[in-house]
Symmetry: C2
């Protein structure tokens, strides 16, 4: 396709791929436990995710030209809540999308290497902006050891210790799959991209998204579930996903269970968004 042949993709092209990745991820159904086109939660609905995804377009486009990763995460967190009433929708996804979109805009044929460099070049200011975003969206995260997200003192502490955003992600990686992507070179995101694109060739895009999500669940315990509940609950979800892949349980049964128990594996959804974005930016079509 002509657009994937362009040497340097236009910012508007990559920004549309990123918005579309968020829209397709939340539309994929049934995506057990997470909000999808047929499943809302009491405080957040499907349309909130669509509106937030579209609302951050200008910040995604700007990311291809300028702006630190921390500042971009902060701005998009603020902008996304202006467009809907469901609160934080894409915080984890932004952590992955901004390095990836910047990478795709400078090196479309080596996105992974470029993203690794970009994350390693983040600064203390990126870390400070990230923490500001963190406290605003009120993400409850127990991961980052002695740094309390919602505490202004933490920002002084970041400066005192000279921590970059990459350092923060290294500290968080143990307990957070999204942070782990920064440290492990976006391995899961690129694996997901390959799986989605491959499955898209012979099946529907929805099936490609749902099956890849299921494999993510089966591969490792979702750290969002660990934080919201505990490791036991996350291992329970992982076990059920394996049961579905090995045909001991239907997808619909898994779906019914996770929704009724309000278990939403949000970090796996974030990685799915990164994977869909990579696949779209390489030319996959809807």
């Amino acid at each position: 396709m002509s657009r994937s042949m362009e040497r340097i993709p236009k910012p508007s092209y990559l920004a549309r791929c990123a918005v579309l990745a968020m829209a397709l991820e939340v539309s994929g159904t049934p995506k057990p436990g997470n909000i999808d086109r047929d499943h809302d939660y009491p405080d957040t609905k499907y349309e909130d995710f669509l509106a937030a995804a579209i609302g951050v377009y200008p910040i995604l486009e700007r990311a291809c030209r300028e702006g630190g990763i921390g500042e971009l995460i902060l701005d998009s967190s603020e902008e996304s809540v202006m467009w809907q009433s469901g609160g934080n929708t894409h915080f984890g996804a932004f952590i992955l999308l901004f390095p990836l979109i910047k990478a795709a805009s400078v090196n479309p044929h080596g996105i992974q290497d470029a993203a690794i460099s970009i994350t390693r070049e983040t600064t203390i200011e990126d870390a400070v902006d990230f923490y500001r975003a963190f406290s605003k969206v009120q993400v409850k995260m127990k991961g980052s050891d002695d740094l309390d997200a919602s505490d202004e003192r933490s920002i002084d502490e970041i400066r005192r210790r000279g921590l970059t955003l990459f350092d923060i992600m290294e500290i968080s990686a143990k307990n957070d799959m999204v942070a782990r992507e920064w440290v492990n070179g976006f391995t899961r995101s690129f694996q997901s991209a390959d799986m989605i694109a491959e499955r898209r060739i012979s099946g529907t895009l929805n099936d490609a998204i749902v099956l890849t999500y299921l494999e993510l669940l089966a591969n490792e315990p979702d750290t969002f579930v660990v934080k919201k509940y505990d490791l036991e609950k996350a291992l329970y979800v992982q076990g059920l996903a394996i049961d579905v892949l090995e045909r001991r349980m239907t997808l619909n049964e898994l779906s019914r269970r996770l929704y009724s128990e309000k278990i939403n594996p949000g970090s796996s959804a974030d990685i799915m968004i990164a994977g869909i974005f990579i696949a779209l930016s390489r030319g996959m079509r809807v």
Copy 2:
């Protein structure tokens, strides 16, 4: 809300409202007969509409700054098919959205008057570009009397007779609800905007969209259905919609019938998009 208070809305704000309007319209379910989040047709699926809506973002943004209505419809028709595999998705919607988005960008507190002026100021070149778009998306329209859409001779004829795009819409208005909006000052679009915004106050956005769509169906025969089938079929749909509003039939029963009979009232969906856009640009939140 602060964004609705701005004197001159930013192009990026209005373009996001337009993309979101298209995304919300196609998501509204059940929207009997038309593609929605739970209903695909064999050749076109829900995701095609999402991708097309997001894909035309840059042209919507450009519309706030420059570009003739005909050229914008042509460019967006071409761009929208680059992002998905469902063919023409939003041709009728573009005919309404471009005058409205231009109007909102110059006069946010008098969108209707501005849109009326903008349509009346269209040129012969707008008409020519519109016909080019028309033949590309292969919309089959019998309405415009002696002008055959897919015929290059028609373009010579447009120039010879000195027809503007407004003239074309006047000719088509008799048989086309979308063209009629241009001639009647976007009456149905603004009525829909008011109904959606009012219903949104006390109910869900989805219900507001579905009920307003139902009223559009009940108000007059959908001209897309007339063109695809005949007037009798369109009157049949209108009668059923009245039955639902007067509680002689359930919404789900109407839905089952129209989907199984493959009757898609596409012009009413176009007007819904215009209505949702107007409501969003005035500050309605998701």
